[in-house]
């Protein structure tokens, strides 16, 4: 499980532990790692997904501590708020390195291990912006569209080995992503967000539930699924107006 020290990732670690799984999770910050470790009983390995050596080392550490792997959750991601025309090379490279190359590296490193277990599950945390992009987060949207395609190519390639590969595509989730290209910035109050038809933003637990499903025997026939978890926001063109009558009137 990559990127397990905050946000959705920490919820996924908690959920897998509650379901009785032994979990190794990665992150870049020892203090946050130790906190999640002590709260959940999962085991922390410090690793930066942008560093190929860290990827291989952390997979090796996970295999050693757990005795093998049944599931990989490639969750670590980074956000950058900028339209494409104003996105710098540095930000673009950082977003692609974390959100696309990282999951590719983790998948390649874990496939032989999963095969040795006789099969397993890979779930990647993508985004609703990968399904339908947002100009305010251009590079992020592009990276998530590409990672959805990575999931689908892997699903076909790994399926014959009994390895299922799926994506969860969360919409607005609170607490939101704190990991930005420029560093961490905790998101403030979600009360101003445009709500989806369900009338609330998502939670880390909502996403963790879907990831646990994909990894479990209940998800045994899911392969190559790109699952939207957005309360219905991308189900129609003007879904955002339904739970936000004031916004719909255009003020």
């Amino acid at each position: 499980m990559t990127g397990g020290t905050s946000g959705i990732g920490a919820s996924i670690v908690q959920r897998f532990r509650s379901d009785g799984a032994a979990v190794v999770f990665t992150g870049r910050d020892d203090a946050r790692g130790a906190e999640v470790e002590s709260r959940t009983g999962a085991s922390f390995v410090r690793a930066d997904v942008r560093a190929p050596d860290d990827v291989r080392t952390s997979v090796g550490a996970a295999v050693e501590r757990l005795g093998g792997l049944d599931a990989l959750v490639a969750n670590a991601g980074v956000l950058h708020e900028s339209p494409l025309s104003e996105t710098t090379d540095e930000a673009w490279d950082a977003v692609l390195a974390t959100n696309l190359i990282g999951p590719y590296l983790y998948a390649v490193a874990c496939l032989p291990v999963l095969r040795a277990s006789g099969g397993g599950s890979i779930t990647m945390t993508s985004s609703d912006a990968g399904v339908w992009g947002e100009t305010a987060i251009g590079a992020y949207s592009v990276s998530k569209r590409a990672v959805n395609m990575l999931v689908q190519t892997l699903a076909v390639e790994a399926g014959p080995s009994g390895i299922r590969v799926n994506a969860v595509n969360p919409g607005d989730t609170a607490p939101g992503m704190a990991t930005h290209v420029e560093g961490r910035s905790e998101l403030g109050d979600a009360s101003g967000w445009t709500l989806p038809p369900l009338g609330r933003v998502g939670t880390g637990e909502d996403v963790a539930s879907a990831v646990a499903f994909f990894a479990s025997p209940d998800g045994a026939f899911c392969n190559g699924s790109i699952l939207l978890l957005d309360g219905g926001m991308r189900a129609s063109l003007r879904a955002g107006a339904v739970a936000n009558p004031a916004a719909a009137e255009g003020a």
Binding site: S85, A107, M149
Partner: protein, 258 residues
């Protein structure tokens, strides 16, 4: 056919114009009376296309970011500061599943197919905005809409191209900048550019299944769509993703009756 689309005297940059679809685009846009600059890695192939079409060749390997920036500057010089149409076509192909794609190759496909396309589009954005508009045409692939797992890294990068094209379309629309993604299906000859260089048989049509239309596409088929997207005839088209594949992507299985 010159003049139908009203492109005479306008300026275009085609990346990757020395073979395949790009080469057909250079020829077509020249036929439409445009001033055309095009890039490519090989000076020999570049000169041949320049001689045949009267377009201006700019030697450029889009893995080199500085060279890529200079190519856009060169096209702007050629147009005296104007650039009406960008055809972002340069791309390379690697045959292999995800696990069979070495890290260096994965990064290289990402750099050429997606990052260079983003960077060239970004470089054209401001000049196009300042001149009151322009048209970006991004050559993606049907493999960017629906995975082709045998060319996994290519599929992944082309999915990114479609997303980038849509977003440039949404972002550019208030400024008159249009951006559309063209997704060719099986085209003969196929992609000839690979990480290691030019290979006439990088994509081997031997195993391909004919589209429902009964023939594979040609570079000219794609160039016709590109020229139309570059012209004012398509003025209300932006952020669109267009398959051009003889119907391959229209249904998973096609009922055939003798």
């Amino acid at each position: 056919m010159t003049g139908r689309l009203g492109l005479e005297g306008r300026v275009a940059l085609v990346t990757g114009g020395t073979s395949g679809i790009g080469k057909a685009c250079v020829a077509r846009l020249r036929d439409e009376g445009m001033t055309v600059a095009f890039t490519g890695r090989s000076s020999e192939r570049g000169r041949a296309v320049a001689d045949a079409t009267g377009a201006s060749f700019v030697q450029c390997d889009h893995r080199d970011r500085d060279a890529s920036d200079r190519a856009v500057e060169r096209a702007l010089e050629l147009g005296n500061g104007r650039l009406d149409v960008l055809v972002a076509n340069a791309g390379i192909l690697f045959q292999g599943p995800v696990e069979g794609t070495p890290e260096a190759v994965f990064r290289e496909l990402l750099e050429v197919n997606l990052t260079a396309l983003f960077r060239v589009s970004r470089a054209c954005f401001e000049p196009m905005r300042d001149q009151g508009g322009g048209s970006m045409v991004h050559i993606a692939s049907d493999a960017g809409i629906r995975a082709v797992h045998e060319i996994a890294a290519y599929s992944v990068t082309k999915a990114g191209v479609i997303a980038a094209s849509e977003l440039f379309g949404a972002e550019g629309a208030p400024h008159g900048i249009r951006s559309n993604a063209v997704c060719p299906g099986d085209i003969v000859p196929g992609v000839q550019a690979t990480p290691t260089g030019h290979d006439d048989h990088a994509e081997d049509p031997a195993g391909w299944v004919l589209p429902p239309s009964g023939r594979f596409g040609t570079g000219e088929d794609v160039a016709a769509l590109v020229a139309w997207l570059g012209s004012d005839e398509s003025v209300h088209m932006t952020g669109a993703t267009l398959r051009i594949d003889g119907g391959t992507g229209a249904a998973m299985r096609v009922l055939t009756r003798a």
